[in-house]
């Protein structure tokens, strides 16, 4: 091919007046005809319109063109159209190149028409220089193993597995625990309708267990994964037993754990200072002691206190529990407290009893009370509930309505700032919170029987290991980092691996379910197509030159390079996107980009530096 005669055809678009209004298109066309190897050049009112496309096809045949250049609007919207036209005329689509003379020339130089014309000539000279060195490329079509593995059996993972299965593909659902349900299993209730958490989970678990396309692997972990989109070799370990498997796609749904607030707000110094999830556990196990007052402290260890982020859900979880207490306190009490159990357990000893001091405290508070103090009804237990917060994150509809209801009930919401954190201490075995009241502008004190610390959700301990195994990134917050926070929320940059639920950041159950189903949609695309056909924009390693230093492996954002048996770098063409990071960083210059070779780029650069004649 390289010895063949180069016959370049150039098509310059007026784009109505979008280009022709500012660039002297006839002059540019005449200039292009003087460039080496250009055997044909013409201009069209609209190259993209039917007559323009027909003119490309006819010219390829009539002038035996073997390279085509279109100078027009932008390749972003129109390159595929012209590539297809070349292909229809029997010309390999990689022998086409686009020169952007609208978005990057006429539109930005509307007030300097002569310079715009000169720039258009420069851009075309560069494009022709590049076209001269273009080589035909073949796109590799690689088959896909029509099966998925979902790692993590919480609500996100179960939702993902179910949807992939219901779209017709076999799924291995791998859960390291002995039961499905994940984080939600620790909870007493979910805030939507304050349903029982176990009851909410049951139909989902039943559907997973009853789905013939889902193979459930409990007590199991994926311990290795090798390959690329459509073709992963994985190892699943179940209680010491290893099993090799092949899947086309991987969905990560490894969940979250609660931050343990060691050293914050007296945590660990009293059994009545608990985290939000521990509180849920107490309620679930019916071990809640009798109380006359309870305080929730929000943002413990979050929003700059240790973790920089807001954990999104804890305000709403605290509100849910506060509402539960306000409306249903009696029924939530520990079995011991309601007399269902006759023995007097140790927990009761720890439970603070009503005392004179408390009553005095209550009277004192009433004087400057900021919340509504009216009772919920004659039968309602007298429980004081306070939520110390920075901002209540009651986003959307339901949370905000709950927030409103909580304010109507006896729930007091006391705002604090990072400069005035509430101080927790224990005096004579009793809990004390000293706090600054923003509205009243004064220091105040309360004696709660229980303090609930709302701490953020954090990444799992094994997130780093999984990140290394699958070569997918984690962000500064420790959570998995999606390909694009705005437009690719459940994709990784690496094709074939997807992410959902709380392993990518705090989310509530509804959001985790939604993300799980979304990841199922994305993951089943390669499965449904049955093949992957990446554009032929790949990097190639010259193994004679490669020193095996591994620099390219580190800089590849798509995990497309690995070391082969002989210690040399090898590119997985199906995973390579042709970004060129590896080629630019290779210290031995052993990596070659097949559509953006050094030769092509240098030819363009040289052409750019030449003066336009004519």
């Amino acid at each position: 091919m390289s010895d063949d005669e180069k016959r370049i055809g150039v098509f310059i678009c007026h784009c109505g007046s979008n280009i022709a209004g500012f660039v002297d298109v006839p002059a540019v066309t005449e200039y292009v005809k003087t460039l080496p190897d250009v055997v044909f050049a013409t201009r069209n009112l609209y190259t993209c319109a039917d007559d323009g496309l027909t003119s490309i096809k006819e010219s390829i045949k009539e002038h035996r063109l073997n390279r085509v250049v279109v100078a027009a609007c932008t390749p972003r919207t129109h390159a595929p159209l012209f590539q297809g036209t070349c292909q229809e005329a029997g010309l390999n689509k990689y022998l086409f190149t686009f020169v952007n003379i609208r978005d990057q020339c006429s539109w930005v130089h509307m007030k300097e028409k002569e310079k715009a014309t000169e720039k258009a000539k420069d851009l075309l000279r560069m494009g022709v220089a590049r076209a001269r060195l273009l080589q035909p490329q073949e796109e590799a079509r690689v088959g896909v193993t029509p099966a998925a593995v979902v790692i993590g059996g919480g609500v996100a993972g179960m939702s993902a597995a179910l949807s992939i299965a219901d779209q017709g593909f076999p799924v291995r659902l791998v859960e390291k625990d002995s039961e499905l349900g994940g984080f939600v299993r620790q909870l007493n209730s979910v805030y939507q309708d304050r349903k029982d958490a176990a009851e909410m989970l049951k139909p989902l678990i039943d559907r997973v267990k009853g789905n013939p396309n889902i193979e459930l692997l409990l007590n199991s972990e994926v311990t290795s994964a090798d390959g690329f989109v459509g073709n992963y070799d994985i190892v699943i370990e179940t209680k010491g037993q290893e099993r090799k498997d092949k899947v086309g796609v991987i969905v990560l749904a490894t969940g979250t754990k609660e931050y343990i607030p060691t050293g914050l707000y007296g945590y660990g110094k009293s059994p009545n200072i608990v985290t939000l999830t521990e509180f849920e556990g107490l309620v679930k196990a019916r071990k809640l002691p009798k109380m006359s007052s309870i305080a929730f402290i929000q943002c413990v260890g979050a929003r700059g206190q240790d973790k920089s982020y807001c954990s999104r859900i804890c305000c709403n979880v605290s509100l849910k529990n506060a509402m539960n207490l306000a409306e249903n306190y009696k029924n939530m009490l520990g079995l011991e407290e309601t007399g269902a159990v006759t023995e007097a357990p140790a927990a009761q000893m720890e439970a603070p009893a009503e005392g004179g001091e408390r009553r005095r405290g209550r009277r004192g508070r009433r004087g400057g009370a900021e919340g509504s103090e009216e009772e919920g009804g004659a039968a309602a237990p007298k429980l004081e509930i306070v939520i110390f917060n920075r901002d209540i994150m009651a986003y959307g509809i339901e949370h905000e309505l709950t927030y409103n209801k909580a304010r109507e009930k006896r729930v007091r919401l006391v705002r604090y700032t990072p400069k005035n954190l509430p101080q927790v201490s224990i005096e004579d075995g009793k809990l004390v919170i000293d706090y600054w009241h923003e509205t009243l502008q004064m220091q105040r004190k309360m004696n709660p029987d229980m303090i609930v610390l709302a701490t953020p959700l954090t990444s799992q301990a094994d997130a780093k290991d999984i990140s290394m195994m699958l070569k997918v990134p984690v962000g500064q917050d420790g959570f998995f980092l999606e390909a694009n926070v705005k437009l690719r929320p459940v994709d990784f940059a690496t094709d074939g691996i997807y992410v959902c639920g709380t392993c990518k950041g705090p989310a509530d159950i509804t959001e985790a379910v939604m993300q799980g189903i979304a990841a199922a949609s994305r993951a089943s695309i390669p499965l449904a197509r049955g093949f992957v056909q990446p554009e032929a924009l790949s990097a190639f390693v010259d193994s004679d030159v490669c020193s095996g230093c591994g620099t390219c492996i580190e800089v590849c954002p798509f995990s497309a390079i690995r070391k082969n048996e002989s210690g040399k770098a090898e590119v997985t063409i199906a995973a390579c996107k042709g970004c060129g990071n590896c080629g630019a960083t290779c210290p031995e210059n052993a990596i070659f980009m097949n559509c953006y070779s050094d030769e092509q780029l240098l030819a363009e650069a040289k052409a750019a530096l030449q003066e336009a004649k004519g």
Partner: protein
Amino acid sequence: MEKTESSVLVIGGGVAGIQASLDLADKGVIVHLIEKEPSIGGRMAQLDKTFPTNDCSICILAPKMADCFGHPNINVWTMSEVVGLEGSRGNFKAKVLKKARYVDENKCTGCGECLEKCPTKGLPNAWEQNLTTRRAVYMAFMQAVPRVAIIDPEHCRFLLEGKCGVCKKVCKREAIDYEMKDVEMEFDVAAVVVATGFDVWDPTPSTEYGYGKYPNVITAMEYERIINAAGPTHGHIQRRSDGVEPATMAYIQCVGSRNLKTGHPYCCSVCCMHSTKESMLAREHIEGIKSTIFYKDMRACAKGFNEYVERNKRDYGVEYINSDATVQGQTENGNPIVSFDIGGKSQQREFDMVVLATTLVPAKGNVELAKRLGVELDEFQFFKTLDRTLEPISSSRPGVYLAGYCAGPMDIPESVAMGSAAAAKAMEAVVQREVPS
């Protein structure tokens, strides 16, 4: 790619509908994407930048719009709306009315000749929040997809009086067709995705903000267009009253939302962040500008949001005041006077400009569309989900799925995720339809 016989109807061509369409089309399903406006893109196309990365909104959306329009499996029907839906999951018959555009989409190349010659000028440009004008033949917006002109039949002289015809004369592609009629179409589809987005609340009736009375009180959506390089002022922030660049700006949060009186007691979920972004961008446009945000709760509660707010305070010097705020009058030179409250003490401060973070509300068409689709709305007229916990994608009618803000407040990534999720549910309907036969 092999085409299958199965189709899905996607209603709404914003970012949620685009994502749902692309996911389905990539699996070989034929998608009919129904958009009532002349271009796809939805609300995201109107925004300047996006939080918390400050990516240019249209720059990241436009490639998706182009992919969608150019996809061999997606048929984009603009100027169209669904008028009926019969049948059941797996076997729906959808009736769609495509309104006359009076410009042949196959011939028009969007060159813009007609736009410059049309003599009927000065019509309000709603897409630009009426901050500028358009003519009777116009382009939806600069990056419209399809890039095809449209004639406004309520103002076109030829359509009204049979006189003029200038656009037809100047169109070299013979794309103008005054005879074009509305067309009713019917599609067999296995599932339907509803992704019709939201409307922006009009704050005029709420007199406490002085919108419509004081010219330098504007809405956030107006501000998004003003600060946009392709917008009516080419990205120069200037006051409506005198065109002067502001030195101080205030942002008032929760305008119309979290408010029982307006009928929108919910939180719109995005305005804390877009005001943070807007104040940050103001600083990039005008050096030394002083911005103040009046908020009830700073809901910076998704990935990178809290850090973004902290950066705005630290690096951009934006002041956050935890208080309700209203606009109580203006000074002689047109500075709105903001009234607020610190430590229980009422205060007043004048600003050069005030931006109202107006709430986002269910689209006006929801009631009629819900009736046509046979699905339920919630008490606020968002589309109702089957189960708030485990079925957040399903509507009350099997086979009809929901994506994006039409189902309740959410931001762009959530809309995109929900678009994908709705596509998954629709795909299940497609697959399950094919299995038994």
